[in-house]
């Protein structure tokens, strides 16, 4: 049962003009339209005015004939009444609350008696009594199904991509290993081509042990060297540039080693002798 609720165009326009966001303006205009319709039906909405509550208290006192002031209970008399420091008796209090909460002894404020909504009553309780939040609230969602579904789809995508690749591309298998026959092109796996390329420029101890060792130690030490507390890119230009430079340097070495080196590890262009590169 979906009942189309009209929005109060006048309220909506006023809120939009006042810079309210469209979503909130629409909600408020909708509420205004509903309120208007209910008032037109003759319903009395909202908490009762204070005079009504005071009047109810006076009526109550007059009827019960409480001590002291008797029939001439005025507001001042009520405040000074019965030597309990201007406090109301429990009966008086409940009568006053009932009157202020709406007609017919209903305990809801502006909500029809039949309604099961009670949340508005929370407005009567000071916030400190409800909220005991120590840490900042965070926007969180349940892992199942939200995260697990995303992960499952990613897993299927990569799994099927790999399956298709494996169906069409065969892993290389050369001729039987023969220590006596050195092949013309002699290359490590692609992720070690950077190291092999370094060997071309430095003594093997520097290229094969010192440089990668230092690189790994620096990489591990990154969180202890980078004392900048901010994670925003605009605040960590040096770190990002240094890391990008490191990645680019390594990438260039791997590309040169993989694609631009031919027989005897000499420089060749791929269009003269082919790639000479096996995964």
């Amino acid at each position: 049962m979906s009942e189309e609720v009209q929005i109060d165009q006048e309220v909506y326009d006023r809120l939009i003009a006042g810079g309210t966001s469209e979503r909130i303006a629409r909600a408020k205009a909708k509420a205004a339209a509903v309120r208007k319709a209910k008032i037109a039906e003759g319903q009395n909405l909202g908490p009762r005015p204070a005079e009504q509550a005071s009047k109810a208290l006076e009526d109550f006192r007059a009827n019960q004939g409480g001590g002291g002031g008797g029939a001439v209970a005025t507001k001042t008399a009520a405040d000074e009444s019965a030597g309990n420091g201007g406090r109301l008796t429990p009966e008086e209090r409940s009568a006053r609350v009932a009157a202020s909460l709406g007609g017919n002894g209903s305990t809801s404020i502006g909500v029809p008696t039949s309604s099961s909504h009670t949340h508005r009553l929370l407005a009567l309780v000071p916030p400190a009594g409800i909220q005991q939040v120590q840490s900042k609230q965070m926007d969180k969602v349940y892992t199942w199904p939200h995260l697990l579904l995303v992960e499952f789809v990613a897993l299927l995508a990569v799994g099927s991509l790999l399956l298709v690749a494996s169906f069409f591309l065969d892993a290389p298998l050369g001729s039987l290993a023969n220590p006596n026959e050195v092949p013309a092109i002699n290359k490590a796996p692609w992720y070690f081509m950077g190291l092999q390329e370094l060997l071309r420029y430095f003594h093997p101890m520097v290229a094969g042990v010192t440089l990668p060792g230092v690189a790994v130690v620096i990489l591990m030490a990154v969180p202890y060297l980078d004392k900048n507390p901010s994670a925003r890119p605009e605040n960590r230009k040096v770190a990002n540039m240094a890391f990008t430079f490191f990645l680019a340097f390594w990438g260039v070495l791997v590309i040169i080693g993989s694609f631009l080196r031919g027989a005897g590890y000499e420089w060749v262009w791929p269009w003269t002798q082919g790639l000479g590169f096996t995964l």
Binding site: V150, L163, G174, L176, A177, P183, A231, R232
Partner: protein, 256 residues
């Protein structure tokens, strides 16, 4: 009176409503009878399943954005599992033996490619999966760096991550020798020569890795054990620490 065939929901209820089924699936499992899409059951699904348990019950909403993590860590782990499964399959058909004249390793590789059912496909999956894993682990590291996700309190998990990157490279590299073809032999020659230049005990390092002074049958056996047992064992331990630290350090890092 003709019996009606049991409906799907009857069968489902009968399967799910017995002691054995209940003992397998803990409360909150989506396979258990009476799973409802409530907050309680959603929480239990993550809490009470060994695999989902790697995650917390709730995650920050920004972590769902594909463009924040690109799922790279999860995909690296998935590829690790895939490589374990395909690797175990290959182990049924592979002998790490390469004595002169009886090159079983190479012969087995040819058999896997030519005669084993699905052998070629599984070998291809293992090879390409290994390359893909090196790639995703590497990209995962770059993603974490650019998001500054290694900052306190996650410093140590970055160190564990770098160790895992090295272990991934070692896993891939030790697997490289196993086909015992020319490519494997000479690529590994390049690699072990490099390690031989370690200062002070370079010769010893090389000797241990080669199981002798040159690459031979002993090298193959050593690298096989390293590849299928030793390095995966170390990797699993570091993976456990890595995942545990993610949760203990407050989940994945916040938005920029």
């Amino acid at each position: 009176m003709a019996r009606k065939p049991p409906s799907f929901s009857d069968v489902k209820t009968n399967v799910q409503d017995n002691v054995i089924w209940k003992s397998i699936f803990r409360p909150g499992s989506i396979y258990r009878k009476g799973y409802r899409d409530t907050s309680r059951d959603r929480a239990l699904a993550a809490m009470n399943n060994v695999l989902y348990h790697l995650h917390p019950v709730k995650v920050k909403r920004h972590g769902l954005k594909l463009t924040y993590t690109y799922c790279l860590g999860g995909l690296s782990f998935f590829l690790f599992i895939l490589l374990t499964i395909t690797g175990i399959f290959l182990m049924f058909f592979y002998t790490p033996a390469a004595g002169a004249g009886t090159e079983l390793a190479y012969a087995n590789m040819r058999d896997i490619s030519a005669s084993v059912t699905f052998g070629n496909l599984v070998r291809n999956l293992h090879r390409w999966g290994a390359h893909a894993m090196v790639f995703t682990v590497f990209l995962h590291m770059a993603r974490v760096f650019y998001h500054g996700a290694y900052k306190p309190p996650r410093e140590f998990n970055w160190v564990v991550g770098v160790i895992l990157l090295l272990l991934t490279l070692l896993l891939s590299f030790t697997g490289y020798l196993l086909p015992w073809d020319q490519l494997a032999l000479w690529a590994v020659t390049v690699g072990t020569n490099m390690m031989g230049y370690t200062p002070v005990f370079g010769d010893q390092v090389q000797f241990v890795l080669l199981g002798g002074v040159t690459i031979g049958p002993n090298t193959l056996l050593r690298w096989y054990v390293l590849h299928v047992l030793f390095i995966p064992f170390i990797t699993v331990i570091f993976l456990a620490v890595h995942f545990w630290r993610i949760r203990k350090d407050g989940g994945i890092s916040g938005p920029l």
